[in-house]
Symmetry: C2
Subunit: 337 residues, 2 copies
């Protein structure tokens, strides 16, 4: 392994990604407002708070059960804004297309983007299209950047988890990653697993309206999965966390594929899930709001913040043991989003 | 030529790009705010006008005389905001990196981005990094999106050219395209041509402060060059335009390479140039402001709007003839920005 080269794992969302960001990209690019470990930057304009985020989507295959690169690109960026407690308003669409790509597929992807934008209540207001010679990109990559407004004065970010907080997820884990992987390997018909790709801004708006300041942190466990996301927040907030394996919502389809392939669903990407850190005494309310929303029917409390600390995350296993949880090391499934 | 496939020319910025946008992408993606033919979308937030734009950069080679993909990505997006009369504030940086890319080159590119951002007075506030397997992208692609504020109540956009307007450019044409092409072909040492890559927001701010409402349209002639940009504006504003070949500022280096290779500099990309459409009676003032600015020393009046019309553009040639000017057809130099 040559440390002078960029490796696939640098794009995993896990340990190597964090190293690359901390050692190279953040120091090099950073102004004081750099989002760093949060999903979006929070910016101030005339006393009004804006959220601004960007994501490039390179998923392979570009069409998979439950979605395609188009709605993924819209929902993913909408979610990054929603995780800062912002109301997403406007998106950009920057496409890099390989020469020879099918116009029909491009049209289908654009239609999926528009449909996802309409469903999320955002508008795609500006765009850019580049075409590169055959063999210099793989079909299509899409960047979406997004702007939202923060219409309240609460701070929701990764540094605000505190001892006692309950950790709640809005549903089953690993669906997106397993759906994409199965499609890539031609197994999609057999597994029946669908991506959970969805916009979470509606659910977040209801959560914040109903439970306000009880929500301390929101984050969507995409690349690197629930394990990496919880570990990130533990480190950002300097707290220790216990997760409860038996409480993790999981479909039998995802469970089955993970068992066969030796994958840990805790590290598999999600695209319609959020993890909320909430006041213990409001956890039941948050759970209630989620379960009444179509995207939160399977919501569950999956753990709690045990103490201030050094960012230690442990899993209480189904058989009662405790094991340490670290970020994703290396790359489990490249090009998952 | 199979019309079901995306061709290199669809990314040229010329005729095919416009067709793809008009026939497929704009109708599919569009909300009412879609920037369409303008460089950025203008959005309203609490009565405050924001500009929002996105661009992906796929230039080959990634380092070229006068710049690299990093400063190009910052300056290009800063310029798109400035062309709407906005003050650029914040940028995002979305990188797609090929597995095996050099960390050292990545660091150099990030440093160039930061330096360009500092020089332009903008901050890179959020980012994203994806790594794709070897052979599925060519080294590095960078998307930058940007937000600016419009601190005045004038409308500067491509629909506002009017009969009598003088057309002014801030300097020599074709430098960026020829520099990149020469570097790609290994001719850079011989030609000595440098990219003009630069942020134009400072020049625009001075222009607007000094000459205010006299400036009707600003646009940077990037892909497709001066010819395509002027034709675009003629069509958007429904006016006819005459350009004056003898007035076009051109270095001997660019002239020489174009002559040898049979390229028309009018179609070659620029990255530190703007075309301004201004009131005839203020043209001398605009020219004066430009020429006192380091990025406008070679500014020149290169044509005028002759009448309302159908978007006809003609070139008065050096020998006194008139020839029609159309948008770039096909693709002259792929991956120029």
């Amino acid at each position: 392994m040559n440390s002078d080269l960029i490796l696939l794992g640098h794009g995993s969302g896990g340990t190597l990604s964090h190293q690359l960001l901390e050692e190279l990209l953040i120091p090099a690019l950073s102004g004081e407002g750099l989002a760093g470990r949060n999903d979006a930057a929070v910016l101030s304009l005339d006393g009004r708070r804006l959220a601004f985020t960007t994501d490039s989507y390179v998923v392979d295959p570009i069409f998979f059960p439950g979605g395609c690169i188009g709605d993924l690109a819209v929902n993913g960026t909408v979610n990054d804004l929603a995780m800062m407690g912002a109301t997403p308003l406007w998106l950009s669409a920057g496409m890099i297309i390989e020469e020879g790509f099918s116009r029909k597929e491009l049209a289908a992807i654009a239609a999926a983007m528009r449909e996802a934008a309409d469903r999320a209540g955002v508008r795609i207001v500006t765009g850019d299209t580049k075409v590169v010679p055959r063999g210099t990109a793989d079909r299509i990559f899409i960047n979406t950047s997004g702007i939202g407004v923060i219409n309240h004065d609460r701070d929701i970010d990764g540094t605000r988890a505190r001892p006692g907080d309950r950790i709640i997820i809005n549903g089953t884990i690993g669906d997106h990653g397993i759906a994409v992987m199965a499609a890539r390997e031609g197994l999609d018909l057999e597994t029946g697993v669908q991506s959970d790709c969805a916009a979470l801004n509606g659910l977040v708006a209801e959560l914040l309206a109903a439970t306000g300041g009880a929500v301390h942190v929101l984050r969507d466990p995409t690349r690197g999965g629930v394990a990496t996301t919880v570990k990130e927040i533990a480190l950002q907030s300097r707290v220790d966390i216990d997760l409860d394996e038996a409480a993790l919502p999981l479909t039998s389809g995802v469970k089955g594929v993970c068992a066969i392939l030796g994958l840990d669903p805790l590290y598999v990407a999600n695209e319609g899930k959020l993890i909320a850190f909430v006041d213990a005494d409001r956890a039941a309310d948050v759970l209630g709001v989620m379960r009444r929303h179509p995207l939160g029917i399977d919501a569950a409390v999956i753990g709690e913040v045990t103490a201030t600390g050094t960012g230690k995350v442990r899993m209480r296993t189904a058989v009662g043991g405790l094991r340490g949880v670290e970020m994703l090391a290396g790359e489990q499934l490249p090009r998952i989003c």
